[in-house]
Symmetry: C2
Subunit: 382 residues, 2 copies
Amino acid sequence: MAKKPYSKDFKLGVLGGGQLGRMLLQEAVNLDIKLAALDPNPEAPCHQIVNFFTTGDFNDRKTVREFGKDLDVVTVEIEHVSIEGLRDLEKAGVKVFPQPDMLEIVQDKGLQKEFYKEHQIPSAPYRLLNNKAELYDNTDFLPAAQKLRKGGYDGRGVFVIKSKDQIEEGFDAPTVLEKFVDFEKELSVIVARNESGEIKTFPSVELDFNPKANLVELLFAPANISDEIAKKAENIARKTIEAFGLVGILAVELFLTKEGELLVNEVAPRPHNSGHQTIEANITSQYAQHLRSILNFPLGDTDLLRPAAMVNLLGEEGHTGPVIYEGLEEALQISGVYVHLYGKTDTKPFRKMGHVTITAATADEAREKAMRVKSIIKVKAK
Amino acid sequence: MAKKPYSKDFKLGVLGGGQLGRMLLQEAVNLDIKLAALDPNPEAPCHQIVNFFTTGDFNDRKTVREFGKDLDVVTVEIEHVSIEGLRDLEKAGVKVFPQPDMLEIVQDKGLQKEFYKEHQIPSAPYRLLNNKAELYDNTDFLPAAQKLRKGGYDGRGVFVIKSKDQIEEGFDAPTVLEKFVDFEKELSVIVARNESGEIKTFPSVELDFNPKANLVELLFAPANISDEIAKKAENIARKTIEAFGLVGILAVELFLTKEGELLVNEVAPRPHNSGHQTIEANITSQYAQHLRSILNFPLGDTDLLRPAAMVNLLGEEGHTGPVIYEGLEEALQISGVYVHLYGKTDTKPFRKMGHVTITAATADEAREKAMRVKSIIKVKAK
């Protein structure tokens, strides 16, 4: 790059102005990287605190092109953006990371599954369906998870079909029918690759999902797994980012089956919920690493400095409207508690409103404090 | 406080929009605290990234009053602000921390010294002078440091007079003539006190000054001192903040004399250069602690998690103009290196343009890496 990222007129654009962009901004300030964000919501979490905020639809080709044309590098904090708009920008000489071709695969869970198969990346068996009717031809494949090929996000677009009599409730759209995996644990490995091809993985973490919302609710770092499994998970993450040729960071979510097998569930080519705790717990945070990757800086060391846990602050059920947080001050009395509120004005059930990272001297202590934090803080509507 | 600090319309104001305000913003984002900054420079480091930025003179009573009248709490990132303006705000019901009475003492090094004497806080012997002529009546007090009572900042306003023949170069203004202290080390302890009266100290750090600019150039945490001295330093810091009745954080700079005595050099009631490394190296950062203090939250634990060093990135001599940073990418190859650029567009000799924190497994390793970083990164003009 001729223009240095920390020079006065260098600008990094982010499609999406949510919490991930917000945490990226907190880190970008350190290197004096000017951030521009595009989001349809004029009061999105990045509003007011990024250097340049544009209200607009990141799924609209022209809007993306207009937003990005004077920027030096464009990245995303959400996958569901206009690929055409990003391709236009690439043609115009703007660097775009993650690359549009890679993003296009990630946007479509069917293409994602085919990609894993083609590159011998372990993943659960699947079938591609065009509509609900085809579910009836595949009852031999149950139990299975039916996943919308496009548009699923934050736990939406996934339906677990245990038996035939649930088929009628299934999606009538192009989907992936994925053989149900009776997993022991869900893991995540974040891996980064810069333009020069340097790769570094973060240590595996363990995820606990809220079964109702299909959302990560709790996270523990490090994952309570053997060194052998940890090594294997990191190798899969490394192989996956290399196969994609991605520049940026990639969150690789994995199932650890009861037989000790590792299967890629899905990937996200951006900062990810499973990496929030790296801000306080690792030498380099996922946000710093993402910036290092896409700006082609040397990657940072990823060692975990202290055991950590992360609690997602999800909107309480039955509460919709202007948000209030209960119990924050009580939680702040606990040592090693880091509250992150995303600045969303309204809550709704299971909306990600913030998170809390807990670091402690031991994994058990981090877990115990996380459970306390989870019971103390409540996200409600006024 | 009726209005919660993390509610939608709560606003915290900062007089000054420099690097300290900028790092405060990075932390305030975590609790979704909306920040408003006032600075005469429209391109100050806080420009564009705080929620509300006002260009104006924080030394002007009316400007301060106008800036603060709709805010919930007002704080400072520099001492040299209009006390009258802050008093007006207090009268109008705005909370002001540090309190104006305390700030008034700090603004005047003569009043500071009298305050220490009155409260039995150890400090070097001094005399108060009205002009240069009076220096000639006090030659018995040399060698001594002549310090401007008002307006000194960032190493300016201090002149060391070793012998009579230097008197002519002294300040012709109201000054403090302070007996020269032949110190072994310079230390700093940051201490916090919230509105409820809870007090916590950070562990002592050791400062290395650039002799030419009289500015902190290197810092080491923890300070290489005995537990006994460390304890004593923390007690002095605690006693000082209690004497002031300050709500907020206070950086207490101390001389450790060759005889093992501790003397308060000066204090700063705000985030301080000697606490930058707490962002990465301590459980709670000085910025988070300052917010906790002035918002009356429980104070955070201050333990040092890993040995750390801090290198101030000062503008090179002979370089004035639009800044370029040399060696940043090379420095980023070193593990545990955290670069903070302040976003100032122009450099000049000894201007504080940024800092680098280094954390490491041992104090020696942190020191060695700090020396490397110092030799690698150069702040120059284009």
